[in-house]
């Protein structure tokens, strides 16, 4: 990683975050060494609480991909995938993860010692196609037990009882699978506790995000890495303790009137996944005294869980994690942006048109129309890719953003 690509992060919590990230992967390697099962699973699902309640270590390839992008091993993984015949037009998470699993895994110097190999795989028909296909490749690559299951892909506003009921049946299948694998019965009290931790984490998460409604905002999208605990450590105290510390820190900043930059003038909204290999983009706006104060992606955990109904809660969480940020619920996503514009006093929106993610990128022109016609908020869209730096041009980004920011400043 070159110096110029380093993000300027300002929260002290980043020190603890680095430890949490290292510890998550170290724990995976420890589990492997100690004979505790390691399962590779699709991202952002409610399965994680079940895993922790059963002492099974989860590995999320989709969380691994941004690490590879940040550490610079993504390009090698893409090459491995391409040599195997996978089109460079496919999602960067997919290409990175299968490239790593098929060939990169035997290479030296992988970030954080690489991933511990799976003892089993959960292959879900749910979420986006590239995720499903990632697990298709993994199932072929690793000769381990596989649970094939699925969940409805349904807009949030259309979720009905039968969707939740079906989700619960799938959770029960997963429990039976894990019980068979570990030889241990699931302790429902532990699952309730894990769900309670997740509920608490979601509550604190919302509070943390809401501090950004203040002018000046106490932190920007450059700190988005804190969501690592929402992806990997739900269902544990680790997430709750860390988020409590973040909340204290950002509230302190609000009380002291301490913003990201000394003279915040422009407040921006960011749509779509960040460019994980170039997080410094979020600092780029600062030269115009502008701060990214809200994003679509960080809204994926605005939900509550009921520890009294743990199975229904994790089924619901799993059901909404995909539509909440994608075009499955385009209307819901637009509603979210409408609210953000009001609550976070947004002056302008930056939309990352992301070649690696069609489900999030489709509908962005509709979003722009709503911003312009209903909300009178100027927006700019730039072409990029959340994993592949070869599909992003900094010069084009600068040209577009510079003109946009000058226009916003003139408006303000």
């Amino acid at each position: 990683m070159t110096e110029e690509k380093k993000t300027r992060k300002r929260l002290q919590a980043n020190t603890a975050l680095r430890e949490i990230i290292a510890e998550f992967y170290a724990d995976g390697h420890r589990a492997k060494a100690e004979g505790r099962p390691v399962g590779w699973i699709p991202p952002m699902n409610g399965l994680i609480e079940l895993f922790y309640a059963m002492d099974v270590h989860p590995i999320f390839p989709e969380n691994w991909a941004p690490l590879c992008a940040a550490m610079g091993t993504n390009a090698a993984n893409f090459s491995f995938a391409e040599r195997r015949g996978y089109s460079p037009d496919l999602c960067g998470y997919f290409r990175n993860n299968i490239g790593y699993a098929l060939d990169g895994i035997s290479e030296e110097n992988q970030p954080l010692g690489g991933l511990p190999e799976p003892d089993f795989l959960i292959s879900f028909g749910a979420g986006c196609v590239p995720t499903m296909k990632t697990f298709q490749v993994l199932c072929d690559r690793f000769d381990v037990p596989v649970l094939r299951a699925d969940l409805p892909q349904v807009a949030m506003e259309d979720i009905r009882e039968h969707h939740i009921e079906y989700g619960v049946t799938q959770m029960k299948r997963l429990i039976a699978f894990l019980e068979g694998l570990t030889g241990k019965k699931l302790d429902m009290d532990r699952l309730s506790q894990a769900v309670a931790y997740t509920d608490e984490a979601c509550r604190i998460w919302d509070e943390i995000m809401e501090t950004r409604r203040n002018v000046p905002a106490p932190f920007s999208a450059a700190e988005i890495g804190i969501m690592f605990v929402m992806v990997t450590r739900h269902g544990t105290r680790v997430a709750v303790d860390f988020l409590n510390d973040v909340l204290s820190e950002v509230r302190g900043k609000v009380e002291r009137g301490e913003g990201v930059i000394p003279n915040e003038r422009i407040r921006l909204f960011w749509d779509n996944i960040p460019l994980w290999y170039n997080m410094k983009l979020f600092n780029y706006f600062e030269k115009w005294d502008a701060v990214v104060v809200a994003e679509t992606y960080t809204s994926a955990w605005t939900m509550r869980m009921d520890p009294e109904k743990p199975l229904e809660s994790i089924a619901y969480k799993t059901l909404v994690s995909y539509p909440l940020v994608s075009c499955v619920s385009l209307n819901k996503r637009i509603e979210l942006i409408r609210n953000a514009v009001r609550d976070y006093r947004i002056d302008g929106a930056v939309l990352h048109s992301n070649m690696s993610c069609k489900p999030i990128s489709m509908g962005q022109m509709d979003i722009q129309r709503v911003l312009r016609d209903e909300l009178d908020v100027p927006s700019v869209m730039f072409d990029g890719d959340h994993m592949d730096g070869g599909k992003f041009s900094m010069a084009q980004f600068q040209t577009r953003i510079d003109a946009f920011m000058e226009m916003l400043l003139a408006r303000s």
Partner: protein, 363 residues
């Protein structure tokens, strides 16, 4: 009249049907929409299919890295070519079509819209869930038409679709047995079955089969399996066969996959669920082992000499499956070619690649 002639008259036929029955016409975006259910309400299901005047009419709403078919379909909608529809229905399959559904609903504003989500695995629980999903659709169709759902009516619709699919299956069988049927005819037959009223297509099929059964099977050239998603380029299909090859099997969004099994006898709704869940999966259905197995079985049963993959640029499901399928073919010594279409139809470049492939097979 032949299938191609019927397609030319699609708009008039649908108009006349609408006037005759007064029933709504609903557009569908995917073959997983249970058309039998719609038909049982008297609704005419019409697969949204065809060629826009200019695909770039969708540029204001879809990025250039969305697959050409999806951009093309939205362009058709924006051009007003589907203004006769009373609504739109979708079943989640690929992400791009889900996005298309959402963008269509927001911008073309049909008075009725609904998306269902079918399960990916076939278990007792998933069948119960799929039944519930169909029941939600039934409730919406009852509101739309003002009619109550009738199992008798569904049973009748199922039997009509079963009969039509059986006739279509026979066309495929005759082709595979060496009858000189052009695959372009089969393609047109498949499109007809998706975009025209079921009874009308069955009548045409009966006539077609009467003529075709009399043909003398002859030796065909190389036996080709066509694999891909939405293959709409008739000139491309014609060109493949103009080389002397015969497309005797397909694995595409519109082809034999939909005909392979019949809707079983029994309680109509449950039977319908069984058909949709046990059908050979498309590339978006997360059941790759079945896809590979079916490919291998087809190679055997149809004596396939070579496979031509016709893929659409940016198509995640098919581009992800391709290396696997290619590997399975290589393991059996079956040569294959992949052409990737970029929305410009049958270009000179695609033609050269196909020519080169057949030349390579000769050597």
């Amino acid at each position: 009249m032949d299938f191609r002639g019927l397609l030319d008259e699609q708009t008039d036929i649908i108009d006349a049907e609408k006037r005759r029955t007064g029933a709504p016409v609903l557009g569908t975006l995917c073959s997983y929409v249970p058309v039998e259910l719609l038909h049982s309400f008297g609704i005419v299901p019409v697969r949204i299919w065809g060629q826009a005047d200019d695909m770039h009419h969708a540029d204001g709403l879809l990025q250039s890295y969305i697959c050409p078919p999806v951009r093309n379909l939205l362009a058709m909608g924006l051009e007003g070519r589907y203004d006769f529809l009373d609504g739109i229905l979708h079943c989640y399959t690929c992400d791009a079509t889900c996005g298309l559904y959402n963008v269509w609903v927001r911008n073309i504003e049909p008075r009725f819209s609904h998306m269902i989500s079918l399960p990916y695995v076939d278990t007792d629980e998933s069948r119960r869930y799929a039944t519930a999903e169909f029941e939600v659709l039934i409730g919406k169709l009852e509101s739309l038409t003002g009619d109550a759902f009738s199992t008798d009516s569904l049973a009748e619709s199922i039997s009509l679709y079963n009969a039509q699919r059986e006739l279509m299956r026979e066309v495929y069988e005759l082709k595979a047995a060496g009858c000189p049927i052009e695959y372009a005819d089969i393609y047109s037959m498949n499109v007809c079955s998706q975009v025209l009223p079921v009874g009308l297509v069955a009548a045409e099929l009966r006539e077609y089969l009467e003529r075709t059964r009399k043909m003398t099977p002859g030796p065909d050239g190389r036996r080709i399996l066509l694999s891909g998603s939405v293959v709409t380029d008739l000139p491309l299909l014609e060109f493949i066969e103009s080389t002397g090859a015969a497309i005797v099997a397909d694995d595409t969004c519109l082809g034999h996959r939909l005909l392979e099994s019949r809707i079983p006898d029994g309680p109509p709704l449950e039977s319908l669920v069984e058909y949709y869940l046990s059908r050979p999966p498309c590339a978006s259905r997360a059941d790759f082992p079945s896809r590979r197995r079916i490919l291998e079985e087809t190679l055997e049963s149809h004596g396939i000499d070579a496979v031509i993959f016709v893929h659409q640029k940016f198509c995640d499901p098919h581009l992800s499956d391709h290396p696997f399928l290619k590997e399975a073919l290589e393991a059996r010594g079956v040569p294959s070619l992949q052409v990737e279409l970029e929305g410009e139809g049958f270009t000179g470049q695609v033609r050269t690649r196909i020519e080169g492939f057949f030349e390579m097979l000769e050597t």
